[in-house]
């Protein structure tokens, strides 16, 4: 029983569960749409300004939507105390963690894929720098959100006020990655400077915290 097989089995199971309860997906999609609209009403700049602030706007909007999605990570496991079944089994905790993180990554990416065209439309965005880098930044940034988010979601299961604890724990630790995501996106949109350093920072962040989460998740899973 390897981590890969547990990850695959759990991911497949989660995707199947998500597909069966399409209500949850639909409401999340609509929520992301609302977030974009609200932000666009709140910040209504001219075309020149928009490139400068769009990076920050977009990522804050993604963060907002991601937190709502992350809070649901373990909801099904909580309902019937399925966590106890995991804890009693010999399955490595890492497999479970990776599956949940990957599932969240897919889900949040879908949300981002919906929100981005809307932002482009509302702000008439056109990147002046290398656009392909935007995909890389999106991927790295989303993984940073999701890997720590999944870990802290599991931690906050053991607290009162569970839903506020997740962002409370996540946001401080996320700051360097957030800076990286925003600066990289702004760099690419404005074309004024290179995003390479920020991309490297995001890679470093992702590597450090993926390893950290994998090593510490077992402890968190087994803490009553």
């Amino acid at each position: 029983m390897s981590i890969v097989s547990i990850t695959r089995a759990t991911l497949v199971k989660d995707l199947r569960l998500e597909w069966r309860s399409k209500d949850a997906i639909n409401s999340m999609l609509f929520f992301s749409l609302l977030v974009v609209v609200i932000f666009s009403f709140a910040f209504d700049p001219t075309a020149e300004e928009s490139r400068r602030i769009a990076g920050g706007l977009i990522w804050v909007a993604f963060l907002f939507a991601a937190v709502v999605a992350l809070n649901q990570t373990w909801a099904r496991e909580l309902r019937n105390q399925v966590m106890d079944a995991y804890r009693v089994s010999p399955a490595p905790a890492n497999g479970l963690f990776l599956a949940k993180a990957l599932g969240n990554f897919i889900f949040v990416s879908v949300l981002e894929a919906l929100m981005t065209p809307l932002f482009v439309i509302f702000y008439t965005l056109r990147p002046l720098g290398p656009a392909y880098q935007l995909v890389i930044v999106a991927g790295l940034g989303t993984w940073a959100l999701v890997v720590n988010g999944t870990f802290f979601a599991a931690m906050s299961l053991r607290t009162r006020a569970r839903e506020i604890m997740l962002p409370l724990l996540l946001f401080p630790i996320l700051i360097p990655a957030l800076l990286g995501m925003v600066e990289a996106t702004t760099a690419i949109l404005t074309g004024e400077y290179s995003a390479k350093f920020w991309i490297a920072l995001l890679v470093a962040y992702d590597v450090v915290f993926t390893i950290g989460s994998l090593m510490l998740f077992e402890l968190v899973l087994h803490a009553e």
Partner: protein, 223 residues
Amino acid sequence: MVSVTGLIKQFGRFAALRGVTADFDAGRIYTILGDNGAGKTTLLRTLAGLSVPTRGSVKILGSGELRSVCHEIGYMAHPSLLYDELSAMENLRYFAQLYGESAEPVHEKIRGCAALIRLVGLDPELTRPVGQYSQGMRQRLSLARALINNPKILFLDEPFSNVDIRSAQTMVGLLKNLREQGRTLFVVTHQAALLNGVVDEFVNMEAGLIVSRSPQTVGAQQQ
């Protein structure tokens, strides 16, 4: 088989277990009785490895490292530990995967799950999600899930709670068979009457301690 020494479990200002010491033999059914708050569930969960004692030790099959014997342990409780949106077969197949890839090919494993579902009196072909089952059906399926890894020791926490008579009787019959196969069972329940004639020993708890143990005789006492 299972032995605990000086088990203390503290939750803040409340001690659920206040120094439990006991030995349990193989191949018997133990029923743990007591009032609410006596520590029955805490003891069971500590034995199953779900709860870390504040002090004291637990040894299962001679090992103090509970992670190394988890292949031999099965656990079920009042919540079903199942996914409401999946069918019975889908649930069991997933949990079977948690217990590892054995040398069996896939169709053997599927046959094994189907057999377990039939064993508890349910239909493996049923595609209805488990959330729509009655409580009795759910608990029976939960028992099937606990048996997936062919465990030597089973821990059951209030398995008959809110369960209809027929399901409960099916389960009791199963427990008897499991005992005949040489497994050890620990059952926490308020409905000791259901296990009359089947249980080997009553373990009575009060205020975090085992106050008495009564091997089953005709007309044995209940809490």
